[in-house]
């Protein structure tokens, strides 16, 4: 009898423990701990572990500010949801590093402090890069680096086709070059036209390069840009697989060495050397010449709202340390990014001259949520990538696809 009772009690205790465990799980993982000496830092770099130089840098900036910083890396998409949930629970991290188009979403949710509140100085940052974090006249955060798109070209393939890369200055000369490459039996160009944000990201340089504006998706300029891509597919200058290519699979195609051009980002610089391709970099041309504005990629360092406003002073010290010129150079070289300030860019180019075309590309680049689009951008972008897919797969003409996209986007952002 007693043993039976005891077993029952043991199970009850066990059940209670399980319950407590669950509650414990639900409330742990939060940012703001009671300790005033411990600060939390979330970023989208799960590839860096405790021993990585990036982690060491973050921790050393904390030590200089007299506190300990605990860094946690999350997957990019998980981080947005994680940040929203933490905001809902009122336990946001002290510092949050997020992809730049997410800044407007999180600012809209009211979980980020503006520079007016946290007193960060952003005057040295390039205007076009910080624009992605400006919503309604307020600035939310500091970019820690920027990346953008350009055309990688394969010198061997171009040589065999008799194309001089310097002659490519606008869409017409680029299309001519693709025709020559195809005639020489090689493959033209690969890019990513997938139905996610990546597809819009890759289409935007051509979209903006035509003079089109995101507020009017069915303008004649926009149709010209989508027609350019669609014609490349029809004529076989670009492979059909671009419709489902991510930037990574598109890169893998370029890395085979069969393609003359690949539209890809700053972050592939390390890989292109590994692939053993004799490569060059070309800024994406606008329709009638000159560099097209490519979208800026890269993360912003933001300071989420805290219950205890006294924490901001220390957080600011840590952020200032991470965004000093010397640390910009270290961080952005590690991430294969371009620094967002002129001084740090100069230092990067001094260290590696190959970065020069990328610095130019970043200077010409434009934030996706700029022009005060803010949280309207994700909705417009979704319609834009859908139009790209519809036109590339041949189910609608570029005109019809963009017209449908404009109608849907206008309804979505109302």
């Amino acid at each position: 009898m007693t043993t039976k009772f005891r077993r029952g009690a043991a199970i009850a205790v066990a059940a209670a423990l399980v319950g407590v465990g669950l509650v414990g799980c639900a409330s742990s993982g939060g940012g703001t701990s009671a300790s005033s000496k411990s600060y939390t830092f979330w970023d989208p770099y799960p590839q860096f572990d405790q021993s990585a130089a990036w982690t060491k840098l973050v921790e050393s900036c904390g030590t200089k500010a007299g506190v300990t910083v605990k860094r946690t890396g999350y997957d990019t998409t998980a981080l947005t949801n994680k940040a929203l949930l933490a905001g809902q629970q009122g336990n946001s991290p002290d510092m949050l590093l997020v992809d730049n188009p997410v800044v407007s979403t999180l600012a809209d949710a009211g979980i980020l402090t503006s520079t007016a509140e946290n007193k960060l100085d952003t005057s040295a940052i390039d205007k076009n890069i910080i624009a992605a974090g400006e919503i309604g006249g307020k600035t939310y955060g500091v970019p820690i680096g920027a990346n953008t798109l350009a055309l990688y070209y394969n010198k061997t393939v171009l040589k065999a086709a008799g194309v001089d890369a310097a002659s490519i200055t606008d869409w017409a000369t680029l299309t001519d070059a693709l025709a020559k490459v195809k005639a020489a039996g090689k493959k033209g160009i690969t890019f990513s036209g997938i139905n996610t944000e990546e597809g819009s990201f890759q289409f935007l340089p051509w979209f903006w390069g035509s003079g089109a504006n995101l507020t009017q998706l069915d303008s004649p300029q926009a149709v010209a840009a989508l027609t350019l891509w669609t014609d490349w597919l029809k004529k076989g200058y670009a492979p059909n697989s671009v419709i489902q290519n991510t930037q990574t699979t598109s890169w893998q195609e370029f890395a085979t060495g069969d393609y003359a051009f690949g539209e890809n980002g700053t972050w592939q610089l390390g890989n292109v050397k590994q692939a053993g391709i004799d490569y060059g970099i070309l800024t994406i041309p606008a329709e009638s010449g000159g560099p097209a504005a490519a979208p800026t990629g890269g993360e912003f360092l933001t300071i989420p709202v805290q219950k205890d406003a006294a924490r901001y002073a220390t957080t600011k010290k840590i952020v200032n340390c991470l965004t000093s010129t010397a640390n910009f150079v270290t961080t952005d070289n590690t991430l294969s990014y371009i620094a967002p300030t002129a001084d740090a860019q100069a230092a990067q180019v001094a260290g590696n001259a190959a970065l020069k075309p990328w610095v130019d590309a970043v200077k010409a680049a434009k934030g996706r949520t700029s022009d005060n689009l803010g949280t309207k951008y994700p909705k417009i972008s979704e319609q834009l990538w859908t139009a790209v897919q519809t036109a590339l797969s041949g189910s609608q003409t570029p005109e019809a696809a963009l017209k449908a996209a404009q109608t849907a986007a206008a309804a979505a952002i109302k």
């Binding site: 009898m1 007693t2 043993t3 039976k4 009772f5 077993r7 029952g8 009690a9 199970i11 009850a12 066990a14 059940a15 209670a16 399980v18 319950g19 669950l22 998409t77 947005t80 949801n81 929203l84 905001g87 809902q88 992809d99 188009p101 997410v102 979403t105 999180l106 809209d108 949710a109 009211g110 979980i111 997938i194 139905n195 996610t196 944000e197 492979p239 059909n240 697989s241 419709i243 489902q244 195609e253 949280t375 951008y377 994700p378 909705k379 972008s381 979704e382 859908t386 897919q389 519809t390 590339l392 797969s393 041949g394 189910s395 849907a408």
Partner: protein, 325 residues
């Protein structure tokens, strides 16, 4: 231990006087009943807690999400207004709704039809007990054992328009190449083929075990009567396999309705919406863009749950009908 301790205590009580000692029988019995109840509750507690935390709460939360108008701001500060069925109305009026529903129906029924018929054919085939039958049958289980991300990625590579093995094979046979994943006419067929391949082992295993329950005497008797193989299948195997078939098909329906990973990995529902089903659409609304649209996503999810529930009820009914027999 207990046996020695209890009399010792009683002895002390007897010495101290009768007043302080309660009658020994009743409280002990009451305590026994009460402790028995507590023990029963304690045994129940884990499963009740489990059901509440992992089933009731998420379901409740999903319904709540779909009935309120959540934006990122109201998600954080908890001030989302109650809008009744506005989100459902919005979702149903959306241009994606009818294509997604049609694709879900086609995907589910075509998958089941092929999975079941191929599974049954293979089960009957392997039931012949020829040499190597069990080895070959084990090989057919491979799709079931592979993680979905592996099989879906592999199919996605095989179906690649330019460098996929399927198109190379077509080319070798002198056929034109097909843009499996990038043509709006073929993308649904491509994900269907992959899903059928993945679902065959499940049908094979269940139907094979069903075949083992059919008495060999029946086939022997039929042979004596001069029935050929075809007649034996339609007159004996198929009717006697009906209970097992019903369960297999209904379970398959519920599984296939909610298939998400294969489609998401292979086409992300594209190009445009040509392979979007309710499950991929729900995910896209909630997590596919930078700006999450939680309320419509939850509404689509709930519609899918309702459809699955209908088939689930049919399953329970069928099972109850079959059980007494």
């Amino acid at each position: 231990m207990t046996t020695s301790a209890v009399p010792a205590k009683r002895a002390v009580g007897e010495k101290g006087g009768a007043t302080s000692v309660a009658p020994p029988g009743r409280p002990a019995a009451r305590r026994r009943v009460r402790s028995g109840q507590w023990a029963a509750w304690a045994f129940l507690a884990p499963v009740v807690a489990y059901l509440l935390v992992f089933y009731a709460f998420p379901l409740y939360r999903n319904v709540e999400l779909s009935l309120k108008d959540y934006t990122v701001r109201s998600f954080v500060d908890g001030t989302a207004p109650f809008v009744w069925f506005d989100n459902y109305a919005k979702v149903i009026q959306n241009a994606t709704f009818w294509p997604a529903l049609t694709h879900t129906a086609i995907f589910t029924f075509v998958s089941i039809a092929f999975q079941f018929s191929i599974g049954l054919a293979l089960a009957v085939f392997f039931f012949q007990h020829f040499r190597l039958a069990s080895t070959l049958r084990a090989l057919f289980l491979v799709p079931w054992l592979l993680p979905l991300i592996v099989s879906a990625s592999t199919w996605s590579w095989m179906f690649n328009s330019d460098s996929g093995i399927v198109n190379s094979a077509l080319e070798a046979l002198g056929l034109p190449q097909i843009n499996w994943l990038t043509s709006p006419d073929w993308s649904l067929i491509a994900v269907l083929i992959a899903n059928i391949w993945i679902g065959i082992p499940f049908n094979l295993v269940i139907l094979y075990s069903g075949l083992q329950n059919i008495s060999g005497d029946l086939y022997e008797a039929a042979s004596l009567d001069g029935a050929n193989g075809w007649q034996k299948f339609w007159r004996i195997t198929f009717p006697l396999l009906r209970p097992v078939s019903a369960i297999t098909i209904l379970l398959g329906l519920v599984y296939t309705l909610k298939v998400f990973d294969i489609i998401w990995i292979m086409t992300k529902g594209g190009p445009a919406d040509s392979s979007t089903t309710l499950s991929t659409w729900s995910y896209r609304l909630g997590f596919g863009s930078v700006l999450p649209d939680f309320s419509p996503a939850a509404a689509v999810g709930n519609i899918l749950i309702l459809i699955a529930l209908v088939f689930g009820l049919v399953y329970l009914r069928t099972q109850r009908k079959l059980d007494p027999s």
